[in-house]
């Protein structure tokens, strides 16, 4: 069920109506039923995957918490035992080690089991293809025909995050399986995140009684409308041209690749943030607050800043649950020690950090897709971030010497520079074969067909002049709203403070715009959200 389908709109309206009709204490139960139903629409067997993850992680976390309780009680007992001090200490230590080992084993088992599910359904064919590449022709293994369960990359991370938090004793384990299952399968989140933490869901009132609030409903609807505007007016309109260029690597080279980098980067933003707006808006309608996933990322002045503003929940997940454990792991600690001894304190600190980052960006890349282009994309990000880190002292000296570089003009330059870098890296998102990407990148310098921008070439990619005008106007609105939110605050709050007539005209106008100009229905392909693929 696509977010932009009539069935989804109908589903949300009916569910919201029922949500405010049932007694508050049953609201979350209705959401769980709705979420399971939503998941069933994606394929009747897919629900088994999400239920398996929910059940194993819930039971595993509960057992881990129980183990910690037992550990504390037993240690308390041992400490009280009538034994000599050194024997007591040894007994406590031995018990602690054994219990920790058991818990670590259980934790690892649940973790690996769930990662294995993800690996099998998402990465089997990637591994098989690579093995086939090594085996050569004639000895090929057959690919598996496994359907990717909806949102598996997202809910698996969410479940693992929870498991780690319980294991680290950051949060208590949820006792009620059904509440936990709702956390994993809450339907707006399943498609493309944001990847929530359990305490965020709890604090966001996922399980709370949420009485009807006109503000919640109206703000939620406004956010959904804004998401539809981004998705249907901008992203899905652009996708016609983007898909044409991507679909024909022999015809569309050179200038078309520059065009693709720019258009795909805009499409990706409008598509993904539009989807997240719909997700957050649906939750808001139900009185539930989900964490924001974007903070106007294309205003970033560096790649580092970009990754603090783009897909915030994913970055936060990888930082919390992968970067920190890797950077504090035994091998990395040993490496840190060795590097400090060999290269000094400063350099010795950086090298292990780069190694940890490498692991994180490799994982980020492969999480986005089971193919080498995504891995290269992840490692490119890593390389640029590491080079920037190394050049940090040079930047500092530059800014010290040229104070004008702190001004608005330079900031805009830095934003454009970062945006262009992202456009370049996004090319790795578009094509699966690295050879194609390199060849197409080379063609930018050799094809010499820049006339395509002026001679009508880009007008033959499935977009008319009017489409370009609509995209341009849509982007102007998007930019205006983004600038306002970056400098002043929430546009919705600002509009809400205006007189009734103005508010009505603004939202009716936006609704009419989406209704008339949106790329949906006959003549347009129902376009899946890009991040739904990941």
């Amino acid at each position: 069920m696509l977010f932009t389908s009539y069935s989804f709109i109908g589903f949300v309206l009916v569910l919201s109506f029922l949500y405010y009709l049932v007694p508050g204490k049953h609201q979350w139960k209705l959401l769980l039923l709705g979420s399971w139903l939503f998941y069933l629409f994606s394929g009747p067997w897919n629900i088994l995957y999400i239920l398996t993850t929910s059940l194993t992680v819930w039971a595993g976390a509960l057992r881990i918490e129980k183990g910690y309780g037992e550990k504390k009680a037993r240690i308390k007992e041992l400490k009280k035992a009538d034994l000599p001090a050194d024997e007591k200490k040894a007994a406590v230590k031995a018990y602690k080690q054994k219990q920790e080992k058991d818990l670590r084993r259980l934790f690892t088992l649940v973790l690996v089991f769930n990662l294995l599910i993800l690996a099998v359904v998402k990465y089997s064919n990637f591994f098989i293809s690579n093995i086939n590449g090594l085996l050569g022709e004639g000895r090929q293994l057959s690919l598996l025909s496994l359907a990717l369960p909806m949102g598996i990359s997202f809910y698996t991370l969410q479940a693992i995050g929870y498991l780690i938090d319980v294991y680290r004793e950051t949060i208590p384990a949820e006792k009620n399986f059904f509440r936990f299952s709702l956390f994993i399968s809450f339907f707006p989140l399943v498609i493309q995140g944001p990847i929530c933490r359990f305490e965020e869901a709890t604090e966001g009132r996922l399980f709370a009684e949420n009485p009807f609030s006109w503000k919640n409903v109206s703000f939620g609807l406004e956010r959904i409308l804004w998401g539809f505007f981004k998705k249907l007016v901008i992203a899905d309109r652009i996708s016609a041209a983007v898909n044409t260029v991507i679909g024909d690597t022999s015809t569309y080279r050179g200038a078309y690749i520059l065009f693709l980098m720019l258009m795909y980067t805009i499409e990706l933003y409008a598509d993904f943030t539009g989807g997240i707006d719909i997700t957050i808006g649906v939750a808001e309608m139900l009185g539930i607050t989900l964490p924001e996933n974007f903070k106007r990322p294309y205003f970033s002045q560096s790649l580092k800043e970009y990754w603090r503003r783009w897909h915030i929940s994913m970055c936060s997940w990888f930082r919390t649950y992968l970067f920190y454990p890797v950077s504090t792991s035994g091998p990395i600690m040993k490496l840190t020690k060795a590097c400090r001894a060999r290269f000094g304190k400063n350099r010795g600190r950086k090298i292990p950090m780069y190694v940890s980052s490498f692991v994180v960006w490799f994982a980020t890349g492969i999480w986005h897709g089971a193919s080498w282009n995504f891995i290269v994309w992840g490692l490119l990000n890593w390389a640029v971030l590491m080079i920037s880190e190394e050049l940090e002292p040079l930047y500092a000296r530059f800014h010290e010497r040229f104070p004008w570089a702190e001004g608005r003009g330079y900031q805009v330059f830095a934003m454009v520079r970062t945006f262009l870098l992202i456009c370049f890296m996004n090319l790795f998102d578009c094509y699966a074969r690295i050879g194609d990407i390199l060849s197409l990148l080379g063609s930018v310098f050799t094809a010499g067909n820049y006339g395509a921008f002026f001679g009508g070439g880009v007008m033959e990619l499935g977009l008319t002049g009017l489409d370009f005008v609509i995209i341009g106007l849509g982007l102007a609105v998007l930019l205006g709203v983004s600038i306002y939110e970056e400098t002043k605050g929430s546009v919705r709050e600002m509009i809400a403070s205006r007189p009734y007539l103005v508010r009505t005209l603004v939202w009716t106008g936006l609704f009419t715009l989406v209704l008339l100009v949106g790329a949906y229905g006959a003549g347009y392909d129902a376009s899946q959200f890009i991040y739904n693929r990941f």
Binding site: L515, G518, Y520, G521
Partner: protein
């Protein structure tokens, strides 16, 4: 008090927004008054005084091939053609069911050309057959029976969702005919006076399977049952269009069906000489459809057949009907004159 004010304000705003969207929808929907006019046929029926002796149902092979005016003027038969472009058999059933909510004719004439389609082939034709229907269980049934996989029921309920991007192609007629329409048929008959002889008519390619689909048969049974239930005689015909090719194997199935169910069946392709058809002068598109001359010859033949077989009363002399038909005849003749001038004919 304050709450009441909010409710009134909200309701008023909602009403205004709905009215605005309704206007927008009217503007964006195709008007079918020029160019492709076939989409206007179905709705025209509701403006008629519904007291017909004969109702035709079917596709272009009825609405271009029979002249109700000739049926009236020569035989006193008051008829109407509920035809639409590529009207599928399930649509014929529901359009008939819809018409029978208003009247009960003596005879229903169904052109069996659409038996070859077991399911809808084109969304555009679905739209042209369905959108003009007034809302009723028949329309709902018609939509559900017709929708292709990529169609949505809600887009029939709110056609603005289907036509939302027509703002790019709006013409002056979209504004002019937003609230009114102009008739484009004469009792459902779509007139063409020009002629293009039938030459080099292509032969049908052999088919793997000549059997009509089960869904098509199901709806033919439903049409038969509906007529039987209402005491209406059902006449099956195959109009004399030379193509799409009408296979003998298809014809045999229709003959068998008619025989087994006690129905009359006329294959006009077999009696073109008897009717007096001349494919050099009686078709306007090389044998696909009849022109005025062909349609009048067919109506003449059919009128005699209807009176003979079903004993239809000659209603000429009924002052009310005479008056109606006098007006219709004048419009019909005016259209002949207009088209003759348009095509440079005598």
């Amino acid at each position: 008090m304050r709450k009441r004010k909010y409710i009134i304000r909200g309701a008023l705003t909602l009403a205004l927004i709905i009215a605005f969207l309704a206007l927008l929808q009217r503007l964006l929907m195709p008007k079918y008054v020029d160019g492709i006019v076939e989409g206007a046929f179905v709705a025209e029926y509701y403006k008629e005084e519904k007291d017909h002796d004969v109702l035709f149902i079917g596709d272009c092979e009825v609405y271009e091939n029979f002249s109700p005016k000739v049926l009236w003027e020569k035989y006193g038969i008051n008829s109407y053609i509920r035809g639409s472009a590529e009207q599928y058999i399930f649509q014929s059933y529901y359009l008939l069911e819809d018409a029978l909510r208003y009247e009960t004719p003596d005879v229903v004439v169904f052109n069996i050309q659409s038996l070859q389609f077991n399911e809808a082939q084109s969304e555009a034709y679905n739209r042209m057959s369905i959108e003009g229907m007034r809302w009723s269980p028949s329309k709902v049934g018609c939509i559900l029976a017709s929708m292709k996989e990529d169609e949505h029921f809600i887009e029939y309920v709110f056609p603005i969702l289907r036509y939302h991007s027509r703002w790019k192609e709006l013409k002056s007629t979209d504004f002019e005919y937003m609230f009114k329409t102009k008739p484009v048929t004469f009792n459902g008959y779509y007139m063409r006076v020009d002629a293009r002889p039938a030459e080099n008519v292509p032969k049908g390619k052999p088919l793997g399977d000549y059997s009509f689909g089960s869904n098509a048969w199901k709806y033919l049974d439903k049409i038969r049952d509906l007529c039987a239930k209402k005491g209406i005689d059902l006449l099956l015909i195959k109009a004399p269009s030379l193509y799409p090719y009408w296979y003998e194997e298809w014809n045999e199935q229709c003959e068998t069906y008619a025989r087994e169910n006690g129905l009359n069946y006329i294959n006009f392709l077999d009696i073109t000489e008897e009717v007096g058809l001349d494919y050099t002068t009686d078709t306007y598109d090389g044998g696909l459809h009849m022109n005025l001359s062909g349609a009048e010859k067919l109506a003449d033949y059919l009128g005699a057949y209807l009176q003979k077989e079903y004993g239809l009363e000659d209603r000429r002399g009924d002052a009310h009907l005479d008056a109606i038909w006098k007006e219709k005849a004048a419009a019909y003749d005016a259209e002949i004159a207009r088209q003759k001038e348009l095509y440079g004919l005598e």
